[in-house]
Symmetry: C2
Subunit: 344 residues, 2 copies
DNA sequence: TTGTAAGCGTTATCAA
DNA sequence: TTGATAACGCTTACAA
């Protein structure tokens, strides 16, 4: 259990003052004579010196750290997002503290407090939708907040990175409509969430474009947690005039929904055409492979990190930025024309 | 951008000294008169005071943080593990800094340095297998290291949490053997890894128990990264005397392997009986649902966190501990008796 | 039981 | 271009 060398040890060994060493460490903070710089660098190397993050943080008042607040790392979408963000951050010398909320506002509030204690420079989050004042306080304390995937309508002045939710839902729905389907089930997130709203909006817009009326019974907004997807599938298929198409636009409920379809023994696409939101790695391993809306996770990660880092370095105009990236529709084999669908 | 209150502000407002406030914050560090304690608590609440983590870290020399170093968060196994660890840590007031190595020793070394800078109290990791001296240095600096899932043979004095690898592979293999299969392919991790070795060991042990000789050609140790699983599948099935059973014991290569099976159009279990390591959420959504070895991820998470925290608080005997948890074999529909398998 | 004051390892200010 | 030295906010002897 040795003690690590400090900046003072380095200074002493190099025969200079601590300020010189500090300036070698942070070049933009001041000039250093080339000769001394070499000497210092040599000593640093020899001693294996590394600056203590805590000391720097205390002095600077801010940590080279961003908080990542996601709902559920076990969800492949968030997991991949986290993977990319962690990776990207590392290349900028920034560490990521990960928190999970499990969609619970209390845990979210807790997480934010903790991140505040750590004086993180920024937070990337998929907000639960609650804690509006908490988010505001966080911002007022100088923490840069970027929402990814979802946002909170009440909260202005916050950067947002998401896919084109309205458009994605519209395209998926139009695909079904153009195949002749007229009763299309939609399983989406809570209407209280930005994604839930936007995707319903897109679904409706598509119907309007095709001059088809929408049946409220076919729209199911279910919570992200729990088995709501499966239940919705069950009740949709139990409808007297059951849908011939199904769009699962709630990323967290895709698995639950598909599991139920498999359990019930629904033949896809003969009995039901299916499109799901988000290209989980397994969606092409089912039979048939599922047609999906593929979220460009890498883009989401890169942009959100770019935004926090940009704000951290004050290199961005103050106006909040909203970045919407396009999500691809990836047709596979889970949709077929209505004519070929079982006529009952 | 307000400035947060400090311990001094609290002390002043409560009419006490900073040490009293500190003692209220850390009860075990000394006594406080009940009356003053209440007063301080009141002020803390009123001011919304929260101690700055960096200041405490600098003072005590250690952070209430553990580093989590995994190979790839995009892999559902690691993602779920991370989710549980983060969750569990939170309930102990500990934060988790996540790093990914992508199985690259350089990135791993980098990550360890960074964690050292942060003075983390402990590290939970799935080591690449390299960086032995780096791990040792980390320990010598007082950082508690716990390996989870895999370990490094050369490194003693380190806690390890894993499944019963030998036994799991043995049980999977015996299942196949008892179904009459005599040529069973094994796709596993590199022999340089503890899991790779152990699982091959279990595979061989099962064969011995059944007095069946093993064909080296059937054993494929492939890297965790890349498409080695798929390639191994391809070459195994191209063998003149091709296997009738396949065990994929490389968690990171399951997807690649199964994808290839699907691409080739192999009928499971008619053409090939299959067992894969790790119950990814989708393994029961394929057709047929796959028989799997299920790793008790929650147990792995709980134990590894328990170990780091235990060591952090010095509540554990110095001897390194090895915890092996049992992995369940979950039979589904991807294995059939040899007699029913296509006779060629 | 309480208060004073000395660290902890950086950065930043300001003379020199 | 350099070097003292004062923060930064907390913990912890040590005195009282």
């Amino acid at each position: 259990m040795k003690k690590a060398p400090t900046i003072r040890d380095v200074a002493a060994a190099a025969g200079v003052s601590v300020s010189v060493v500090s300036r070698v460490l942070n070049p933009e903070s001041g000039p250093v004579a080339p000769a001394k710089r070499e000497a210092v660098l040599g000593v640093i190397n020899e001693l294996g010196y590394r600056p203590r993050a805590a000391a720097r943080e205390l002095s600077v008042g801010q940590a080279l750290t961003v908080g990542l607040v996601v709902a559920d790392l076990a969800n492949p979408f968030f997991a991949q997002l986290a993977d990319r963000i962690v990776w990207e951050a590392r290349s900028h010398g920034v560490q990521v503290v990960v928190m999970t909320t499990q969609e619970d506002p209390h845990l979210e509030a807790d997480s934010l407090d903790t991140l505040l204690d750590r004086s993180v420079a920024g937070v990337i989050a998929t907000p639960t939708g609650a804690n509006v004042e908490k988010w505001e306080r966080l911002q007022s304390m100088g923490v840069n907040v970027v929402f990814v995937d979802r946002t909170i309508a009440e909260l202005e002045d916050v950067d947002v990175v998401s896919i084109e939710n309205v458009d994605s839902a519209r395209r998926a729905t139009e695909h079904m409509l153009s195949l002749g389907h007229r009763r299309i089930g939609l399983i989406t997130g809570p209407v209280s969430t930005s994604t839930g709203q936007a995707r319903i909006h897109g679904y409706r817009a598509a119907h309007e474009a095709f001059s088809v009326s929408t049946d409220p019974q076919l729209i199911r907004d279910v919570p992200f947690r729990g088995d709501g997807g499966g239940d919705a599938v069950g009740s949709l298929l139990a409808l007297p005039d059951r849908p011939t198409g199904l769009i699962v636009a709630n990323t967290a409920q895709v698995q639950s929904s598909v599991r139920r379809l498999v359990q019930i023994g629904v033949q896809i696409p003969e009995d039901l055409s299916v499109i799901v939101f988000d290209d989980n790695p397994w969606t092409e391993l089912t039979s048939p492979p599922l047609s999906v809306i593929r979220q460009p996770i890498g883009m989401l990660a890169v942009h959100s990190l770019e935004l926090v880092l940009g704000r951290m370095h004050g290199k961005l105009p103050p106006a909040p930025r909203t970045i919407e990236v396009k999500a691809d529709f990836v047709p596979r084999s889970s949709c077929s024309p209505l004519l070929l669908t079982t006529t009952r």
